[in-house]
Symmetry: C2
Subunit: 204 residues, 2 copies
DNA sequence: GCACTGGTGTTAACATTGTTTACATTATTC
DNA sequence: GAATAATGTAAACAATGTTAACACCAGTGC
C-alpha cells in the first residue's frame, strides 16, 4: 500500500480527510498507536501539519475516526470470511459452520492487525455495542438466529446468547492482540472457547 | 491519597522508583493514560524530570512497571473480595459461590478503575498469562479445582475450563472498562456471562 | 469576465514533551 | 576520612500538538 501523494493542482489536496484517516490507519498498523502523530500523518499525505486541522479538531478526534473506520473494516472482514467458508449439505451443520467462521475470523483479524484491533473499541463512550449499529454485532445476531432456526439454540439462553458469544471471543481476541497468549496456543484456545460457547448456547 | 512528598535530607528522595510508580498509577487512574508523563510524575514526586531516568530507562518502561503493579493489585483485589463473600453450609454451593465471586470482583475492578484495567495487560509480549505467574490466573485455576472436587465440572471440558472462564469474563471486563456497555446493563451482562460459563463448564 | 467569499492549504511561531549531558550532592565502602 | 557509586539538579535538544496570520483556489452572483 503506497503513500497517497498529492494530486491535482498541487495546492489543494482534493481528498485530505479520507486520505488522512487511511494514512493514520496504516501508521498504527505498522508502527503502533504511539507512532501516530499529526506531523507523521501530514508527511504521509504530503501536506503541512496545520492543514489537518481543517478536517479534524485535534489528534484525539482523528484517532476516534480511525477507530470507527476500523470497526467498519472489521465487520466487513468478518462478513467476507464467513461468506467464503465452504458449506455442507446439512442446513443444521451450516448454521454452526457459519457461526464458527465468525469466531475464527474475529480472532484472525486480531492476529493479523493487533494494533488496529486494540483501538477498534476505544472511545465508544456511553455508546453501547448493541446500539451503535455495529456491523459485527449484527452479523453475530444473525448467526445466532440461524442457530435457533435449526434447533441448535437453547431457548432458555436465547436472549443472553449474543452477549455470551461476543464477550467470550472478544476476550480471547484482546489477549491475542496484546500477545498475552503464545502464537502456538492461540488455535487451541479458540477451539476451546468455541466449544465452550456452543455448550453454553446449547448447540451440541 | 495524597501526593508523596520529599522526605529526609531533601536532596535524595529515599524511595523514588516506588514513589514514581505509585504516582504514575494515581495519575492514570484519575486522568487517563494520555496524562501520564515523565514531567507530571516528577512534579508529583517532588523531583526533577531527569531524576526519574536513574530508575527507569524511559517512559515506556515506567508504563510497563505500572502495568505489572496493576496486575498484582488486581489479583489481590480478587482474592480479598472472594474471601469476604459469605458462604453457605453446602460445600458444593460454596465452590460455585467463590467462583462467581471471582467473576464479580473482576468486573468490579474494571468498573472502579477502568483506566488502570485497560493497561493491566499491555506489553505482556510473548509472556502468556498462564506462565507469568499471575495471581489472578492462579486464583482461577484454584477455583476451578474446587468446582471439580464437588462434581460441578464436566471432565470432558476440564483442561479448557480456565481458558473459557477467563476469556469470557475478561471480554466483558474490557468492554466495561471502555464503556462500550451501558452502566445499567453491566450487571445483567455479567449474570448472563456467568450463566454461560457455568453451562459451558457443566456446573449445573 | 470579475470581484468576492468560503474552503483549504502554507509558514512561522508557541508552549510542552521525552531525553541527554554535564555537574552537584549525598551514601557507602575500604 | 577519602574514594567511589548512587542519586539528585539544571540546562539544553529535538520533536510534538496546536494556533494565528497569511496565500491560493473553486464556486457564486453580477
Amino acid at each position: 500500500m503506497l503513500t497517497p501523494v498529492r494530486k491535482r493542482s498541487d495546492y489543494h489536496h482534493g481528498d485530505l480527510g479520507h486520505a488522512a484517516i487511511r494514512a493514520a490507519k496504516n501508521l498504527i498498523d505498522s508502527e503502533g498507536l504511539n507512532s501516530l502523530g499529526i506531523r507523521r500523518v501530514a508527511e504521509a499525505t504530503g501536506v503541512s501539519p496545520a492543514a489537518l486541522y481543517r478536517h479534524f479538531e485535534n489528534l484525539e478526534q482523528l484517532k476516534a475516526e480511525v477507530s470507527a473506520q476500523i470497526r467498519l473494516e472489521l465487520g466487513e472482514f468478518l462478513k467476507a470470511k464467513r461468506d467464503r467458508t465452504p458449506l455442507s449439505r446439512s442446513k443444521s451443520r451450516n448454521a454452526l459452520i457459519r457461526f464458527e467462521a465468525l469466531g475464527e475470523a474475529y480472532i484472525d483479524y486480531a492476529r493479523k492487525h493487533p494494533r488496529l484491533f486494540e483501538i477498534a473499541f476505544i472511545h465508544c463512550d456511553e455508546k453501547p455495542i448493541s446500539e451503535f449499529g455495529d456491523l459485527a454485532w449484527e452479523l453475530l445476531q444473525e448467526s445466532i438466529k440461524e442457530l435457533d432456526e435449526v434447533g441448535l439454540l437453547d431457548r432458555k439462553i436465547a436472549v443472553a446468547a449474543p452477549m455470551i458469544a461476543w464477550s467470550s471471543v472478544h476476550g480471547l481476541a484482546v489477549l491475542v492482540a496484546q500477545r498475552a497468549i503464545l502464537q502456538r496456543e492461540q488455535d487451541q484456545a479458540l477451539r476451546q472457547i468455541m466449544d465452550g460457547v456452543e455448550r453454553a448456547l446449547g448447540a451440541r
